[in-house]
Structure formats: C-alpha cells, structure tokens
Amino acid sequence: MDQFTINLIFVAASFALYIGIAIWSRAGSTSEFYAANRGVHPVTNGMATAADWMSAASFISMAGLIAFTGYDNSSFLMGWTGGYVLLALLLAPYLRKFGKFTVSEFIGDRFYSQTARIVAVVCLIVASTTYVIGQMTGVGVAFGRFLEVSNVTGLLVGACVVFAYAVFGGMKGVTYTQVAQYCVLITAYTIPAVFISLQLTGNPIPALGLFGEHTNSGEPLLTKLDAIVTDLGFKEYTLHHADTFNMFLFTLSLMIGTAGLPHVIMRFFTVPRVSDARWSAGWTLVFIALLYLTAPAVGAMARLNITEMMWPNGTQNEAVSVEMIDTDQRYDWMKTWQKTGLLDWEDKNEDGRIQYYNDKSEAMQARAEAAGWQGNELTKFNRDILVLANPEIANLPGWVIGLVAAGGLAAALSTAAGLLLAISSAVSHDLIKGAIKPDISEAGELMSARIAMAAAILVATYLGLNPPGFAAQTVALAFGLAAASIFPALMMGIFSTRINNTGAVAGMLAGLTVTLIYIFLHKGWLFIPNTASFSDSDPLLGTVKSTSFGAIGAAINFAVAYAVSSMTKDTPEEIKQLVESVRVPRGAGSAVADH
C-alpha cells in the first residue's frame, strides 16, 4: 500500500470518528450548544479546551520555528503556556461568576455601554480574522502534502473543507468531539517524537531525551547539535542571540494574548462552579503541556536529523549527492515535499552534491570558496513543513506518517472552524441583531451569519496565499491584537471599580488602533504584500518587532483607560456592586443566555 493511500485511510478514519461522535451526542438547540460543557468534569473540559486552543500554530508550525532558531524562539513555549496562569488567576473565576456566555456581553454590562460591547466585538473580529489567516497557512501546508499537490491548490481545497466543516457546525461545541480531536492530535504529535527520541538518545520520553545523551556520539544531544550547526556557519542552537528586550516583549504579548482570546475565555463561562473554573484552567494547561514539553524536543531532534541527512558523512566531509537524493528511499520525503513548493534544492555549482550551509557566515564563505561551492543549495525549507515531514525524515513506518497527517488536519480544521463560528456569531448576533438592526428575523440573522463566515474565509484564503509570516508568526500577531484590546478591558473590569464606560472604550480603541497600525506598517496594510513601510528586521521602534507590539498596545490601553476614567464621571453605584459580586464565588448560579 503506498503512502498516499495510508494517509487517506488515517484522515478519513479520524473524520469518521469526529462525525460519528458529533451525531451520537448531537446537541439539539442553541442553548444546548452553548451549555454543552456544563456538567462536564473539569478534566474533560480541560481536554476539550486544549483541543480547541491548540491549532495549526502549535501543532504544525511551532516546532519548526524552534528547530531553525533554537533558544531564541522559546518565547512561543513560555508565552503560549504562561497565559494560562493569567487566565486562571485574573479572569476565569470572575467571568464564571458573572454568568453570561460571551466576552462582549461582560464588557457591555460591566461598562454599562452598548458602545463598549460593539467595540469589544470589533476587537474580537479583528483578532479572530488574523488568527484564521494563520490557520489557513497551516491548512494549505497540510492539504498540499496530504494530496501531494502545490501549496496553493492545497490551500484552496482546504478552504472549501473548512467552510463546509464550519457551516455543518457539528464539530464545535460538542465536547466529546473535541476530546476525540485532542486524543488524535496528541497521539499524532507524541508517537513520532517517542520513536525519534529512542533512535537518537535511547530515552522514550522526548522531553527527557532533549537533555539526554546522543547515542551515536556519546555527547549530550544539545552539545552535538550546537557543534554540527556551527560547523555549517549557523548560530549555536542553545545560546541567546536575539535582542533581549524584544524577546521579553514577545513572550509577554503571547501570554497576555492567550488570556485575551475570546474563544478560550468562553470555555470558562460555562463550567459548573467558580472553583471548577480555577481547576479547569489547570487541567487545560496539563493537556497543552503534554504537547509543549514535547515540541522543543521535536524541534532539536529534527534539526539534527535534517543536518545529518544533508551531510551523511559528517559536516567536515562531502555533502549528500544528488544521485543519493534521487535514488535512496530515505530521501523520498524531499521529493514529496518538493511537489508542494515548500522545499527545494538546486545544485548551483554542478558538482553533483547538495551543500546545505549558512552562506552568510564569513567563516563558511572561506570554506565555500576553497571547496568551490556557490551558495547554500538547500534553497528552500519552509518552517511549517517540519512537523509534518518529521516522521518521513526519521524514516518511521507509513502508519505514523498517516497519523501525523490526520493530527495536523484535526488541529488546523477544528480551530479554523471554531474561529469562523465565533466571527459569524459576533457579526450576526452581537453586531447586527445587538446593535444595527435589533428587529432582524431569525432567518435574516442566520443568513448574515453565513455571509460573514463566507467573507471571513475568502479574506483569510486570499491573505493565506501570501501570508504575513509562517503560521505561528501570523497567529502571534492575532495574540498581539487580543492582548492590546480585550485583556486589559476584562482585567480592569474586574480589578478596578473606577474604570468607567468612556475610559474602557477609549482604552480598547487606543490599544487596538495603535497595535493594528504598527502591525500594518511592518506587515503591509491589511496584510497586502508590498505595502509595508518597515520590516521586522529593522523595525520602527528600535528592536520592537510587530509580533511583540501587543504588550505595548496593552500598556497603552491600560494608561488611556485610566487617564480618561479619572477625568470623567465615576462609575454608578450598581456597577460597583456588580464588580463586588463578581469577586466572590458565593451566589454563582448557572450561566444564562442573553437572548
């Protein structure tokens, strides 16, 4: 049986599983849809939330970014887990006590302002749409490989599948489908990592293997990795090379952003009790940590494997020959990935070998000149392919490769579909029915939801063709936007009685606008290529990259909200009482819908 058929079987079987569970536990009405996770144990809820949250960025993209940068990209690991501490301590229990279903409802009620609610909805739509663009990048990579077509064709096919999936709607909100998705996703991520860790270090636990001994050389794995990458002119994997201030800001932005993402926060509104909201955040992080503790091992080990494949006789000897790539079946993965257009090589000096090295390093330029090399010949290696290609690179059995394909699609599709649903309900329910046209018919509301969803996916697909970065980088921009707009409003709403309606609205608008402008200046207006005035290699504000600006945006939001509030009328007494009541668990009924 060839690999294509195996992949097809795994992908089809996993989809059949999700659809089967969705039909079996089908929620009948809207309130059931919302309340699907009420009465669910915090452990189960945590698993479902983890599946909902871990997307193409975590599954497909993150380990690749760590692999090719090393320590400097640790921000993704700390940022996307540290946010749960903020969520558990600063938001989840109080929002659960408040007892509504959506973030914009809380902001609207706490700041006693329809304007605040609409501004929150706009922030939500902007952040979620950016998030979907990142997912579409991942979807394109996964479908391109799985169908063995170009990245562009993969993206277009993927967009249709995501749209059908989201309209069909059965995948989101049904806790047990998400539990199944989590199981597929984590198995698919862990199994190849265990195999590779055993191959390289003899340790079956990848997180321990990362700090273990490389069996072939007898040296620690990371020492070996540092040695071979520096041999080729790349920077040491384990050392700190990036700008410290930017790394600090980037980590902080990802943390605050995690705690400001509406589709994550929503999960904590409907757990049975306030104390469960606290536990639930912990369990969610347990299930996320299983992947996040494995990811740095996946990255480091893949980097080692790839480098050794390109230099089968050691980095000081001859590089891999073109003939070997063409005939040896261990190199088949290079040809399959070449079809997607995301991996490419070229024998520039026509010596029949492919030299992979850093041609910008001066030491390497000397060696290259002596050996007659004419630049790095592994001309393209898209970071987003690393995790999906990893089992093939390590020459693992066909079923493992099929499993990883199924896992990658589960991660990308579930989050993309979930976000599209969040966008469409924000437009139709909060924006159109809540503000613009309150007397809209139910059919009209449904129609506007579909139109919003279609528009969002068209925008995301178009921009996914020329994404502002690799999947995880685009998603990081979405986190920055959430950090600058939603998180400060929620936190001030709970921890201050002084911030009033005008202050909150001004804060959110300032945070969102400034952050959005800073991102557009660096990534192009509306992410349209070639409209950027600055680049992240030489940012407007010293070393602050656009992906790191969210933390500054949040600070602006806090400052503006505080300043404006202190100049305007104090909050009314009943709002102060509302805040007081949100702070104590007693008296928390079950959540009620605002319909």
Binding site: L210, L222, T251
Partner: protein, 95 residues
C-alpha cells in the same frame, strides 16, 4: 446581573473586603513566581544561571523550554487549591 448576594450586611462587607485582600495577596505571590521563572530565569537572568550545566546546556535554557511550563502548572493548581480553602475560610464558597 445584580442579584441578592450583592446586598450585604456591614460585617459581610468587611469580610468580603478581607477576602478580596487575601485573594490579591495570593495573586501577587503567584505572579512574582510566574515572572521569575519565565522572564527571570528563562530570559533576563539566564547569564547568571549559565554556570549550572544541564544536558549539554544550562539551567536558563531548561527554564525557557521546559521548567517554566512545569512551574506554571504547579502555580495554577496551587492557586486553585489554596483559593478554594480561602473561600471556605471566609464563608464565601458556593452553596
């Protein structure tokens, strides 16, 4: 969303003030640890930890890629456990 629980007797007001102060103290302690392991040990203080070797690199690298995640987990569970006790202590737990 203003329910009966918000109209409190004076001693209840005092109790809920103390409860909130206890909560803020817990949050502050937890967030200091949260920042210390990630921004501290993982990034800013890494040069100071470079003398402590671990698996071919140093302790700062371990905190940045694994240690901070483990501490985050411990923090959330500790806070949940502790606050659920504090709730009872102040008599504000859910019925």
């Amino acid at each position: 969303m203003v329910d009966d629980s918000t109209k409190m007797a004076p001693n209840q007001v005092e109790a809920s003030k103390n409860y909130w102060a206890a909560n803020i103290r817990m949050i502050a302690i937890s967030l200091v640890i949260w920042a210390l392991v990630s921004f501290g040990f993982g990034i800013l203080l890494r040069p100071m930890l470079s003398g402590i070797p671990i698996g071919g690199t140093d302790l700062g690298f371990w905190f940045a890629q694994q240690g901070s995640i483990l501490v985050f987990l411990a923090l959330i569970f500790f806070y949940a456990w502790r606050m659920n006790k504090v709730d009872q202590q102040f008599g504000v737990e859910e019925e």
